[in-house]
């Protein structure tokens, strides 16, 4: 009951600060652009494929097209924009005069951290559902091929957001500054995880253009293993969308572990901190 009131309070804040309006406005523009895009060019191409090939050709074309939509760059832009929007939640909560009131209520500090995390994740889940759900309906209605697996991308994108938001929360609690927390996260995770992903791809390939020393290789592997794997999870998302088998669950497991560690640290720090 108290936790529900707290989560509702975060949503009310997002609504009042026009955060929800901004998200849905921005996504509506994206959907409109997509409507024009899909009408003028993409569907014609897909229909040509349909006319020239079998039903399998259409399916393949739709899957390929949808896999572009959930590829790395759109994922980066969507998750990054959501992290920017939600990064002020924790520092705003910690403002003097507000945190005192909150902590004087019969709600544990652990629940406050969880409440914020759940509220931000739900907000992003609804937003991604609106955007990716609309795009899915548009593509499916235009092509006649309803690839339900595409909807898994909503879950995967939200998962990537949740993993990264857990560290945004921790840095927000430590620094009390939304800008600092955002900068650190942007600097830390997207470039490093992308580089580590490339490094890992390199290690797994047979043709190696660059040769790393054993120490550098071990360090790269170490960081790759402990840091969240946004880009690898995005790869898994593409596999889901294209209905391909998932062979490696390690990025999911290690990202979940990273999220658990970040949340535990946030809870530990918040529980011992004087306000």
């Amino acid at each position: 009951m108290v936790l529900y009131a707290f989560i509702k309070g975060v949503f009310r804040e997002a609504f009042a600060k026009r955060i929800l309006l901004t998200i849905f406005g921005f996504f509506s523009v994206l959907i409109l652009l997509f409507v024009f895009g899909i009408t003028n060019s993409t569907v014609e191409g897909l229909q040509l494929m349909l006319e020239s090939g079998s039903a399998g050709g259409l399916k393949e074309a739709v899957l390929t097209f949808e896999s572009y939509i959930v590829s790395g760059i759109p994922m980066f832009m969507l998750v990054a924009s959501m992290l920017i929007i939600t990064s002020s939640f924790v520092p705003d909560m910690l403002k003097k005069g507000h945190i005192d009131l909150l902590l004087s209520k019969p709600i544990s500090r652990t629940k406050i951290v969880f409440g914020h995390f759940i509220a931000a994740t739900l907000l992003v889940l609804f937003s991604f559902t609106f955007l990716l759900g609309s795009i899915w309906i548009l593509i499916s209605a235009k092509t006649g091929y309803w690839n339900v697996s595409f909807l898994y991308s909503i879950v995967w994108f939200t998962f990537i957001f949740a993993v990264l938001y857990s560290s945004v929360m921790l840095i927000g609690l430590l620094s009390r500054s939304n800008i600092l927390s955002l900068i650190i996260n942007m600097l830390m995770f997207f470039p490093t995880t992308f580089l580590l992903y490339l490094a890992n791809t390199y290690f797994q390939s047979d043709q190696k253009g660059i040769v790393f020393g054993p120490v550098a290789e071990s360090l790269l592997k170490f960081f790759y293993n402990i840091l969240p794997k946004a880009w690898d999870v995005q790869d898994i998302s593409v596999l889901y969308v294209t209905q391909s088998p998932i062979t490696n669950n390690m990025p999911i497991i290690s990202s979940v572990l990273f999220m658990c560690v970040m949340l535990s640290l946030s809870i530990w720090y918040f529980n011992k901190k004087d306000y």
Binding site: M1, A5, K96, S104, I107, S108
Partner: protein, 308 residues
């Protein structure tokens, strides 16, 4: 029965980074607050008043010692169901209306919507804000925000209410109304812990006070005990004849302040009555007599100056 028990409460903050210095916010503070009392906490800026209140509410943690509220440690979250709090310089979300603020913090206090529907208006009316309930609080004045804060602190019908500078920014009529609300709460058996700079206000409504200075408790007791100057009585009378003056001076060890006023140190009620009987038998009209008291403000200033 004590509602609040504080035993050797100590709080040290770390000073400059890497210096190892400690700032002593509180040093072995101990006192109790009884049920149904209005308790005032006094002290100059930086005395540790807000730190003490924050420790009692679990917002800040003590370095040493312990504090109990309703016989439970202050770190117990469930204790807060019986506690209301109005912080100094509170910041309610300014996108909410007065009613929404009460609704939000009421729900965080564990109240159901049905309970809030019944009580929101009642408490807004109690603090004179019933006509402003549907207005966004960004349009409120400082005084209105304080009144709303008081309603927020009372919404869960708590047994203990902490108020940090509740009349800050409130006009004199509003201050009187808030005092009346506090006295009404006291009559309902609620305990009120008041932190205020307005000593005259504390003197008017508090049963007991504690004075803090530089983190140390320098005095605790009832307002009467703290402001009392001993057993000095001042009599105001009609013109005193010389023989009466002499007797007052010699027998009752009085000090004259002119023909119409004198003071005596009297230890018992019987002695007071004896003087009255003598004055009346000497045809002296008694206009009044009072046990001399210092104001809380002068006592407070004296105590702080002595300590410094």
């Amino acid at each position: 029965m004590s509602v609040i028990e504080i035993n050797s409460l100590t709080k040290h903050y770390s000073g400059k980074k890497f210096s190892g210095d400690k700032i002593k916010a509180l040093e072995k503070v101990s006192f109790n607050v009884g049920n149904g009392e209005i308790f005032g906490l006094l002290g100059p800026n930086g005395a540790g008043k807000t730190t003490l209140v924050k420790i009692l509410l679990g917002i800040t943690f003590a370095t040493e010692g312990n504090a109990m509220i309703f016989d439970k440690p202050v770190t117990n979250v469930n204790v807060k169901r019986r506690v209301g709090y109005l912080p100094e310089n509170h910041k309610f979300p300014n996108y909410l209306t007065g009613e929404q603020v009460i609704d939000y913090f009421g729900k965080l206090s564990g109240l159901r919507k049905s309970d809030l529907d019944k009580t929101t208006y009642k408490y807004l009316k109690m603090v004179g804000m019933d006509e402003w309930g549907t207005t966004k609080i960004k349009k409120y004045s400082k005084g209105m925000l304080q009144r709303l804060g008081l309603a927020q602190a009372m919404i869960s019908n708590p047994d203990l209410i902490f108020l940090d500078e509740p009349t800050d920014g409130v006009d004199p009529i509003g201050r009187k109304e808030i005092r009346d609300v506090l006295l009404d709460l006291k009559s309902q058996g609620k305990t009120i812990f008041l932190n205020s700079h307005l000593l005259s206000e504390i003197e008017l409504i508090c049963d007991k006070v504690a004075i803090l200075n530089k983190g140390e408790l320098i005095k605790v007791g009832s307002v009467d005990d703290i402001t009392s100057t001993g057993n000095k009585y001042i009599f105001t009378t009609s013109d005193l004849k010389e023989d009466v003056m002499n007797k007052v001076l010699m027998e009752y060890k009085g000090t004259l302040h002119g023909k119409n006023e004198f003071e005596c140190n009297i230890n018992t009620v019987e002695e007071v009555n004896k003087i009255i009987d003598y004055l009346r038998s000497s045809n002296v009209l008694i206009h009044g007599f009072n046990k001399e008291k210092n104001s809380l403000e002068s006592m407070f200033i004296n105590l702080i100056e002595q300590k410094n």
